[in-house]
Symmetry: C14
Subunit: 93 residues, 14 copies
């Protein structure tokens, strides 16, 4: 196990777990928000435009948290500064 | 255990766990959204078109989180930059 | 423990856990959706066609998440690129 | 511990855990669906045929997830490609 | 620890855990279904025949999941292909 | 630690855990079923015979799951094929 | 650590955990059943005899699951076939 | 670490955990039963004698499960057959 | 690490965990019982004597479970037969 | 690591965890009891004296469980018989 | 790692975890008590003095449990008898 | 494993887990807040402006907690003082 | 790993976990208290002054528990007696 | 692994986990408080100013707990006294 391999393994495992664990909260939160929106629409159809507008703002904020996780996951796979530093070193290190 | 094997193992295990863990949140969230949609339809059949339209937008956003996980899982199996770097090295490394 | 064995073990264990863990969320989500559909049918039998149509769309989306897991599981067993790479190497490696 | 034994152990343990863990979600989901069906029948006996038909479609979809797990478990015991590859090798490997 | 012992241990432990873990979901699911059936009978005694018929179909489907686990457990104890392969080898292996 | 001891330890631990873990689900399920039966009897005493008959059928099915676990536990203690195979071998093995 | 000691340790630990874990489910189940019985008695005192009779049948079935665990625990302490086999061997083994 | 010490440690730890874990279920179950009894008494004071009688029978059955755990715990401390066998052996073993 | 130290450590850790874990169930159970008693008193002040009498009987039974744990904890600290056996041995053992 | 240090470490860790884990149950139980008392007072102010008296008796019994844990924790720190035995031995042991 | 360091590490870790874990129960319990007090005040403002007095007594008892944890934590940091004994020994031990 | 590699691995793993675990709470909290906002809009459409203004303030505060986690994660990847210190040292250290 | 490093590591990890774990309980408890206060204000605006006064007293008590954790965390970082003792020793120890 | 590396790793991991775990409680608590505030506004729009003022005070107190965690996390990264002490030592230590 040389240094390059260890950093690669840590990056692979972390990239996967980040988006996997990070999807639980936002998905449940969005599910709840959508569910309440539908129930609110059935109760008060006249306020439909206000409800859907508020829903989309809320979904966007929750989705942003999922996107933070996705961004970190992508950075770890494709723009990992630690990996770049290691493979830029001469092989003898 | 040479480097190639370790990275392959980490990729295999992470790819599976990413989609496995990442399916829990979205599936529960979608189940809740669909359930409320059906209950809303039964309560207010006249608002059916608004409800189903909002439902599909919501399902699409929740599904997108599951797709993030699936994408990371596929990248780790078929387009893994760490794996490509390792198998491109001469065998003596 | 040579490389081939390690990759085979990781693939076997991951394939099983992926579909095992990945079945929990979709099964619960579908159970909830079906349950609400039946309760909605009992409450508003006249809207039966709308309810069952929405139910089937929703079930299809939730089932798709379970199928992602099944696909990853099958890829790991029958079309595993890491395994193919390893068994294609000459034995001396 | 030679290679054959390790792969056999991994297959045995994974086959059991796959169907064991994979039975939790579908069983709970089906239990919920059946329970709601019975409660719906008691509430609206006249819609019995629609309710039972929808119930059976829903149960089939949930059962399909349990069957995915059972199929993977059976593949790991009786049609395991990794095991077949190992026992087909000459003993000296 | 020779090969035979390791495979025997893995089979014993897995056989027990498979049916032990696999009993949780079906037992809870059936308990819920039976409970709702009784509550439905008390609410609508006239629909007793429909309720009990639907209950038995539902219990059969849930029980089938428990039986999958029991079958895998029995296969691992009495018809384990890995064990048969190992004890069929000459002792010197 | 010779082979016989390892198999004996695995059998002892598994036998105990199988019935211990396997008792949780059925006991909770039966408790729920009995509880609902009593509540149904209090609500509709006239349907007592139908309720108790359905209750006993349901309890029998749930108890059968607990009995699966007990059977596997007993097999592992008193009719364990792996143990029989080991103690039948000459001591020198 | 000779064989006898290992088997004794496994038996001691398993005997305790079997009854300890095995008491959780039945105790909660019986508590629920008794609680509902009391609440049913308060609601419908006239059906007292039917309720208490059904309660005792139900408690007996739930208690039987706890007794399975107790029996396995006692077998492991006082009638353990593996222990008997080990202490019957000559000391030199 | 000789044999005697290992068996003593296993006995001490198991004796404590058995009663500690085994107290959770019965205590919660009894708490629920007592709570419902009090609530039932407040609702139907006239049925006090039936309620308290049923309560004591139920508490006795739940307490019996806690006593199983206590008995196993005491056996492991004061009447442990494995310990007796070990300290009866000559010291040279 | 000689024998005496190991047994002392096991006794210390077990004594603490026994009463710590053993306090969770009874404390929650008593909290529930007391809470319901207060709520019952507020609902039916006239039945105060019956309620408090039943409460004290119930609390006594739940407290007895906590006392089992405390007794085992005290035995392990002050009347531990394994410890007494060890310190009674001559130092050379 | 000599004997004295090991026993000191076990005592320190156990003393802390005993009171830490042992505070969860009683604190939640007392919180529930106090909460219900306040709600009962708001509902039936006239029964205030009975309610507060019963509350204090109940709190005393729940607090006693927390005090068991505190006592064991203090014994382990300040009156630990195992520690006293060890530091009383001559240093050469 | 000499003795002093091990005891210091055990004291540091335990002191932190004791107050950290010990804060969960009391904080939730107090939150519940305060919440019910506010809700009771809104429902019956006239009983405000009785409610707040009972609340403060209850909070004091719950807070006392948190203070037990804090006291043990402080003792472990600033008045630790094991630490005092170790640093009082001559360095050569 | 030299120092640089260890610090890189710790940074990678921690950066991922920080945002992954840190997304659960805020996502669920925001989901709840949005859901209640929609339900409040359906109940009282006239207070729409007050509700959405309060919602946005609340979302901003909850989002700030998620942003704390994202900031720490970014600092660990791109502005890690420990990493900078290590790679600034001459290679011979 | 010399003594100083081990104590520093233990202090760092414990300081972080103490405030991290210690924030869960108080935050949830305060959230509950504030939520009920708002709901009480909406129900009984006239009792606003009493409600807010009681709320602030309650929040102060719950906050005090969080502050205990923060104090212990700060002590471990900036006024750690074990650390001071270690760095005050001459380097040769 | 020299001392500097170990302290750096401990600081990195702890800094991340502190804010990650510390965000769960405050985020859920704030979500609950905001949700109730919105529901209270919909129920009693006239008390809007009192409700939002109380909400902001409550949010500030809950946010303060999250800020404790953030402060500890920042201290561990940028003002860590243990790290400063280590890097101030001459390299030969």
């Amino acid at each position: 196990m040389d240094n390059m391999t260890l950093i690669a393994m840590a990056s692979i495992v972390t990239a996967g777990l980040t988006i996997a664990l990070g999807s639980i909260g936002p998905a449940l939160g969005e599910g709840r928000a959508v569910a309440t929106a539908l129930s609110a629409l059935a109760q008060q159809p006249d306020a439909g435009s206000t409800i859907t507008r508020t829903l989309f703002v809320g979904l966007a904020m929750i989705e942003s948290i999922a996107i933070y996780c996705f961004v970190v996951s992508m950075i770890l796979i494709f723009a990992n500064p630690f990996w770049n530093h290691v493979i830029a070193q001469p092989a003898g290190n």
